[in-house]
Structure formats: structure tokens, C-alpha cells
């Protein structure tokens, strides 16, 4: 049993399980993959359900069952067929199914450049895979998570309205715990082999990804300032306070706007002594004592902000606009290359520069995932695979088009694909490459707790 458990820990079992099942259903390997992922999910879903019903007996049973499942995987895996060809043939048939499907991709639609980028992607996946990609522009992905929860509540388990969605962090955590993701599709994507092997791609706000979502881009909290106005920008939380008392102008969006929450988390990381508590669920920590220095800091800071702590920018994009208007001096952004893209797009003056705090800022990865009731699952997989192709990632990294840091490991790419990336010119405006330490996100559960407390203190 212990060897099987080790196998279970070391191996990405759902992927292999799926692949193996796909060899069983040779007649139609694609539906095999999809069915396999479905069945994995439904098994585990049923198990969870039952375990809540009848306590420990069922729990034991479920662990036995899951071990049985792994044993099955192991048995099939060792039966000797070549994994590479399995991947190819299975993927070929996914593409076969994808052809002619319409994929409704629910993604934030507030940025012109991102919308244009997705338009381009739609053209490309249509050429490449015969998939029609429809970008459903939404204001906040949490709404879509809500819709899925509602759909689940009323039992609309097939032909859902969403095929692919752009998520991370709390929303992913909510989807995972609510079993709203379809399954471990991400590691089956051929292009997944060129992804960076970093922890931020396998855990999302300390929540294990487990192939339920596919990485799309990297993000880090950065600050953008106009060097023509500010000589020496503040490089730490305490610097920022001094900057404000010297008449500097700054504002951050009010939580629960996520960049606002991120700013609060950033300050918390800098101000608290208890870093260990942050990587664990908030319920396990003494919230009041961990966060006490944060509230003390914010009490001091808020009266000096733009809006005096009574009015807040609606979003990080708003702070960028306010820097361009001269209403504030420092904007916050979650994209290290945003300034570069904005200068090229005429939204910021070419005197802006990007930096992080000296001790680093929070960074994370954003992903795409397929909801459990998606209609065009094969098509969604094809799109997800395209999104992590060298071609798509290189264009995405180019501030001319978007300017979002890649999730690919350049060294794993072919020479031709590498060249795509070296031609990208970020200019002097983006976060200089090699600078800016990335700090991990606190556990996903901290966001809600911090937002609630923030609203209680500063909500009126």
C-alpha cells in the first residue's frame, strides 16, 4: 500500500488515469479523455457527498476506493504502451471533436488590448483548430463563478453557458471547493510540457492546482510612477507613509476590488512578524494579532490618501488613468509590463517607470479553467492549449499587443520559438527584467477575512 501511496503523491495521476482509459476506448480516444476526466470527477464528487452523509465509515471506504483507482492506473500504466504516442493520438482526437465547436470564453473585458488580443486568438484557433472562439466580456469573474454555483444548485449539469474561463486565487478556490471545475485537463495539453516548473504554476494562492486549470500568464504587484514628477518613489510600506506625509499623492482601490485586496495583503506581509500564519488557512491563525500592525498602519495612511480614505479609485486601471491625469503620483498594477503597453498605447507619458518594493511584492499566476458543465470541452481544451503555445505567449508578452509576462520556460522552447520572445521590446517603462523579488500569495482564505475586516473598519 505504501508504494502505491508514494506513486499517488509523485505522479500526476488523473492525467495518467485519463490517458490509460483513453487507450481502453481506442475507437474514440478523445471522448475517452473527456469521459475519463468526467468519471474521475463524478467518482470523487460522489465520495465527498457520501462521506458527509455517513461519517467515518464512508470516509474509510472512500480512501479504499481511491486507492483502488490509483491501483487501476498503475496497472494500466505498467501494461507497457508508449505514453508519447498515447498523447498524440488522444490529442488528435480531442482536436477532431473540437472542430466546429463554439467556445464561450468568459474573461474580463475591460481592457482594449486584451480584447484585441483575444480577437487575434479567435482568428488563430479558427485557422488552427476550426474552433470558433467567442470572448464573453465580463466585469468580474466572480459573477461567473456565482452563475455556475446557481447552475449547479438547479442541476443544470450539461450544456452550460461557459466553456472556458479566466480565473485564479479566491475564484479558483471557490470553484475547486464547489466542484465547479470540470477536471484535470490542463496537464493533458501538449503545450503544457514547455511550462515553467515553478511553484506558482502548481499552487494558486496556496491551493493546489492539480491540473484543474491551465496557466495563462504571470502577474506581480508593481508600482508605476512618473519620473518627471517623482524623484525617488517609496520602496517600502514605511517609505510610502513618509512619501504621503511629504505631500505625495497615492490611492489604492478599496477591497474587495482584487488589486486593492492585493495591496492590503502586500502591506500585511511587510508589516506582520508572523509570516508562517499567512501560508496557512486563516482559521488556523490568530487573525487579530497577525493583522494588528496592518490596521494601525492603514489608520495612519488613509487620511493622507487621495480621497482621504472616503473615496477610492474603482480599480487599478483607474489609478493608471489618475497618474496620467496627474491626480496621483503612483499607480498600482498587477502586470509588470503594463506601463510599457500603456505608453505604447498612449495612455501614459513616456516618462513613467515601474518598480517593486525593495523586499519584493506579491506575485501570482492566472489561469484558464473549464467549468464542469461546459458544452464544448474539447474546443475549450484546444483553446487552452493554443493559449500556452509559444506563438500566443510571445504575442501576449509583447506590450504592443498586451504585455503580460509568459508562463513558458524559454529554455524548453525550440530555437525558432525562442526567437519569438527575444524580439519583444519592453522599453524602459516596464519592470526591468531581473528586478523585483516575487513574494507568494497568502493562503486564499486570507482574502475574504481581510476584505471583511477592511470593510468593517473603513466601509462607511
Amino acid at each position: 500500500m505504501s508504494s502505491i501511496r508514494r506513486f499517488c503523491e509523485n505522479t500526476d495521476w488523473p492525467r495518467n488515469f485519463a490517458l490509460c482509459l483513453s487507450s481502453v476506448w481506442e475507437a474514440n480516444p478523445a471522448s475517452g479523455i473527456i469521459a475519463a476526466i468526467n468519471s474521475c470527477n463524478s467518482v470523487s464528487r460522489n465520495l465527498t457527498f457520501r462521506s458527509t452523509l455517513s461519517g467515518t465509515i464512508m470516509k474509510n471506504l472512500s480512501s479504499i476506493l481511491s486507492h483502488f483507482k490509483v491501483a487501476l492506473v498503475a496497472a494500466i500504466l505498467t501494461s507497457g504502451s508508449s505514453i508519447a504516442t498515447e498523447v498524440d493520438s488522444a490529442w488528435e482526437s480531442v482536436l477532431e471533436d473540437a472542430k466546429g465547436q463554439t467556445v464561450y470564453f468568459n474573461a474580463w473585458g475591460g481592457s482594449d488590448r486584451i480584447n484585441s488580443y483575444l480577437n487575434w486568438a479567435a482568428d488563430r484557433v479558427s485557422e488552427e483548430y476550426g474552433v470558433t472562439l467567442e470572448h464573453v466580456k465580463i466585469g468580474d469573474i466572480a459573477e461567473v463563478v456565482g452563475q455556475l454555483e446557481a447552475a449547479k444548485a438547479v442541476g443544470k449539469d450539461t450544456d452550460g453557458n461557459v466553456d472556458l474561463m479566466w480565473v485564479n486565487g479566491e475564484n479558483f478556490a471557490a470553484m475547486k471547493s464547489g466542484e465547479l471545475t470540470w477536471g484535470a485537463f490542463a496537464n493533458n495539453l501538449p503545450n503544457a510540457s514547455t511550462l515553467k516548473s515553478s511553484e506558482s504554476l502548481t499552487t494558486d494562492f496556496s491551493v493546489p492546482v492539480e491540473g484543474l486549470e491551465s496557466p495563462w500568464g504571470a502577474a506581480q504587484l508593481v508600482f508605476i510612477y512618473d519620473a518627471a514628477v517623482v524623484d525617488e518613489p517609496p520602496k517600502s510600506a514605511n517609505d510610502l507613509l513618509n512619501f504621503l506625509s511629504d505631500g505625495g499623492r497615492f490611492a489604492y482601490p478599496a477591497p474587495p476590488v482584487f488589486q486593492g485586496t492585493t495591496m492590503v495583503k502586500q502591506l500585511l506581509i511587510e508589516l506582520t512578524d508572523n509570516h508562517d500564519a499567512l501560508s496557512k488557512p486563516v482559521g488556523e491563525a490568530d487573525f487579530a494579532s497577525v493583522t494588528a500592525p496592518l490596521w494601525e498602519y492603514l489608520d495612519q495612511m488613509h487620511p493622507m490618501l487621495w480621497g482621504k480614505g472616503k473615496t477610492w479609485p474603482a480599480s487599478a486601471e483607474n489609478t493608471r488613468q489618475m497618474v496620467d491625469d496627474g491626480e496621483i503620483d503612483i499607480a498600482i498594477s498587477f502586470n509588470p509590463n503594463e506601463a510599457s503597453a500603456a505608453v505604447k498605447g498612449g495612455q501614459l507619458p513616456d516618462t513613467v517607470r515601474t518598480y517593486t518594493f525593495d523586499e519584493g511584492t506579491i506575485g501570482n499566476t492566472h489561469f484558464v479553467t473549464i467549468p464542469y458543465n461546459a458544452k464544448a470541452k474539447a474546443g475549450a481544451m484546444a483553446v487552452a492549449n493554443f493559449l500556452i503555445s509559444a506563438e500566443a505567449q510571445a504575442r501576449k508578452a509583447d506590450p504592443e499587443f498586451w504585455g503580460d509576462p509568459t508562463v513558458l520556460d524559454i529554455d524548453k522552447l525550440s530555437e525558432a520559438d525562442k526567437a519569438l520572445f527575444t524580439s519583444v521590446d519592453l522599453g524602459p517603462w516596464a519592470l526591468p527584467i531581473g528586478t523585483g523579488i516575487t513574494l507568494p500569495e497568502p493562503h486564499a482564505s486570507w482574502a475574504d477575512a481581510l476584505e471583511e475586516e477592511w470593510l468593517k473598519r473603513y466601509g462607511n
Partner: protein, 546 residues
Amino acid sequence: MIRIVGIVLAMLFAFPIVIGLLGSVLPAFGLLPPLADSEGFTELFADPRFWPAIFLSLKTAIIATLLVLVLTMLALVCAHGTRLWRWLNGLLPPLLAVPHAAMAVGLLFLIAPSGWLVRVISPSLTGWERPPTLWVVPDSSGWSLILGLVIKETPFLLLAAAAQLPAVRVDAALRIGRTLGYAPARCWSRLILPLLYPRIRLTLLIILAFNFSVVDMAILLGPGNPPTFSVFLLSLVNDPGSRAVASAGALVLAAGVGLLFGVTVIVEKTISQIANHRRESGLRGNSLPIWRVIAQGISTGGLVLSMLTIVMLLIWSVTRRWRFPNVLPTEWTFSHWTNRLGEFASPLTTTLTLALFTTVFALIAAVAWLEVERREKVPKLDWMWYIPLLVPQVTLLFGWQAMALLTGSDGKWLSVAYSHWVYALPYVVLILAVAWRELDPNWNSAASVLGAGYWRVLFRVRLPLLIKPVCQAAAVALAVSVAQYLPTLLLGAGRHQTIAIELVTSFGGVDRRVIAVLASVQSILPLIAFGLAIWIPRYFRAERNT
């Protein structure tokens, strides 16, 4: 047969309203599992944002509506019969076509510390090299929102009032009143307004309900922390754990509107009592030219402010760089328009198909209803048409969304189109009803005597005679459909992207240039429709004359 058509029509219209109310009422009391199985009200009242949000909404709605009324009266009294009046009448109708949200964005740019009004006088007069920090926009007390509502709703009420002036014989009243020795302002307050007010009361109530439940403008111009009550509700609706709370909130919103209506009626009664006594005093009042000048100044100022918001948007749509304190952009570009032409195709098609469906079916339904009413002598159900205009949209929509989710009809094109139809039909019926009922029945008999059958009379006599109101009603139906944001969003489940949705999502990107382009596109559609509504009847008349 005719009776059946009437019943079917009334059902088609009443069904979604009943469903919408049920879909809000049931979850609020936890009666709609699995969507909601808890009591919403206790949780709602316990939310720390509840009371601040309610007070903010009441405050902005009441002040904005009062200002709209006062400014309308002011403009009527001081501008009627002057050149300013002609300007107002010519410039205000196009303003109605501009989406609320677009106007809000233009207004934000006008009044912000880094906005255009400051730029015009900086740094030359103010010495401000950088935007002042004396105020922020949007402010935390809701005044930006109030200003936005006032400049958007005053033209609506003013035009509604202007349309009623002939019916209250305003010229004669002024002439009689003045020759009896009363100053013009007294003639208005004692002779004209008491007759005019009942005729614009409904419009005013619609404005009041709108101001209380507005979402898009409140997101942009209102304080965010806490937001207005309707914005607060919208943030709950997509959180399934909060559906019971959201539904309870939707009912509170509807109750709030009811309460405001009640207060309005009481205030109105009191004022009319006082006015009734004062009319008997025989005091003539003095005409004070200075007040007239001030009032004209305010009216002109409001008009200029409204026009400027539009001008600002148009300039932004062709701007590349425009920083403080430049009065005009330093770099221009048309790329926001040209880059985007391809991207407009799909949302524009969706917008137009929805609008055409809505217009055609609203016209058919309205004509059918009015014919039923005319031939069967059924009771006039005018109050029924007002329900969707007076019940807050959020309240009905929460219900529809809940029902659509339960029946799996969310995301369906027909669900969206149906909701547009429900919102367009009242306008079409109410616009057509006046002309339809007043058309001399002798036209019908004259045609019938000549041997024309029912359909021939309808299509060759009644409709051509009423081509003007029919075209106007069609234009309004189209404008209503083009402007629908919440129904398309909540019932469309993201499947049906219209220009209105594109516009509201573009606010997230905070790029004034993109917003300006989308707002222009959204304004152009109703403008074309209104243009056609003026041109088509003229064309037909000209055809006949040649």
C-alpha cells in the same frame, strides 16, 4: 376572436411581470430552493452596508428628482417664448439618445480636479500646475451622482412638459393672467403649473423610481464605499449564497420606490392645498428681471454642461495624448475608431437583431392591443403598461434570472428579446394610444362605406394616417432596446454581447477613448432611428404631393 387576441397579449405582457415579482418574492422568504433556502431579510438588515446604502440612495434620489423638477420649472418659466427655448427644444432630444453611462463618463472628465473645467482656467487663472486636491470626483456624499442624474433627467422632464404645453393652453393663460395684472412668474405658478403638473406627474414618478434604482450611473458617479443600494444589490445577485438576501433587497428597493411615491403624493397634496389658498389672495407679484436673468443663466449653464459632456466624449474618441493642464489633446488619432470597426460587427449585429425584433413585435402588439381596445370597448389598462417603468428593473430582473436559471432558459436569445419587448412595449402603447384613440372614427366608416374590409382599412387608412406616431413609437422602441443593459446581461448569461454590454464592460478598462467610441456608437443608433422617424412621414407626404 378579438377578445382572445387581447387576452393573449395581456398575458404575454403580464406573465413576465408576475414571474419577475414571484422570482423576487419567493427567494426573499426562502421559498425557492435550491436557489435560496434561507430568510433573506434578517441577513439583509444585519449587513452593515444596508442602512448607509439605503440612506445614500434615498438622499440622491430625492435631491436629484427635486432638482430636476425645479430646473424644469425654471427653464419653462424663464425660457418659454424666448430664443433659449428654441435652443432647448432643438438640442435636448439628441441628448436623450446618449446613454446614461456615457454621459457619466463625460461628466466625470468635466468636473474632476484634473478635468476640463479646471484645465480651461489653469494654470493661467488658478496657478495650478497640477490638479488641485481640494475636491475629488466622484465624491463620498453622492453629489457627483446627483449632478449626473440631473443633467440626464432634466431634458427628459422638460421635453415631456413641453409636449403638454399646448394642452394646457399656455399662451392664452399667460395672456389672460398678465392682462389681469399678474407678473409672468405668477401666471406660471398659479395658472399653468397647477394644470401642467398632473400631466407630467407620471414622468416625474418614473424619473424618481429611476433615480432611486439606477445602476450604471451610480457605479460610475456614485460613492463606492458604501455604494448606492441598487449597486449593493447587484453585487449580491451573482453570489448564489446571497440570492435570498439579494431578493429581499430587491423587494426593499421596490418598497422604497413605493414609499417615495407615497411621500410625493402627500407633498403634492400639501403644496396644492397651500397653492389653492394663495391663489385667492389676488396679490399680483412683481416681475423681477434679475431673477429671470439668473434663471436663464442656470438653464443655459445646464444646457452647456450637457452639451460639453458630449463634446468631451467626442474629443476623447480621437485623442492619443491629452494631459493636464492642456485644454485640447496634444496628439490626435483616429485609430480607436478604425482599429475597432471589425470588432463592432458581432455586437452590432446582436444589438440590431434584438432591436428590430423588439420594435417589430412591440408595434404589432401595440397596434393589436389598441385595435382590441377600440373594437371591444374593453377597459383601458393604461396602468398595466406603467408597471415595468415604475417597478425597479433590478427587482424584476432578479426574479427573471432566478426563473430562467430554474427553467434553463438563461442564455437563450429569446429570453433576452422577450425582456427587451416587455420594456419597449409600454412606451409604444402609450405613444400610440393618444393618436389611436383620437383618430376620427369617421375615417373608418368612410373607408368601410367604400367597401374596404377590416385589414384594408387598418393598413391603407388607419396606419398611413398615423404614420407619424407609429414611426415615433418605433424609434423609441428601438432606442429602448439598444439601451437595455441589465436584462441583456442577466438573462443573456454573456452569450449575447450587445453594444450596451461592451460599453459597460469597457468601463473596467478606464480608457476614456474606448468608452467614447462605444458610447458614440450606442448613441448613433437611436439618433438614426429618430432621424428616420422624422424623415419617413415627410417622405410619404412628399410622395403623395408629387
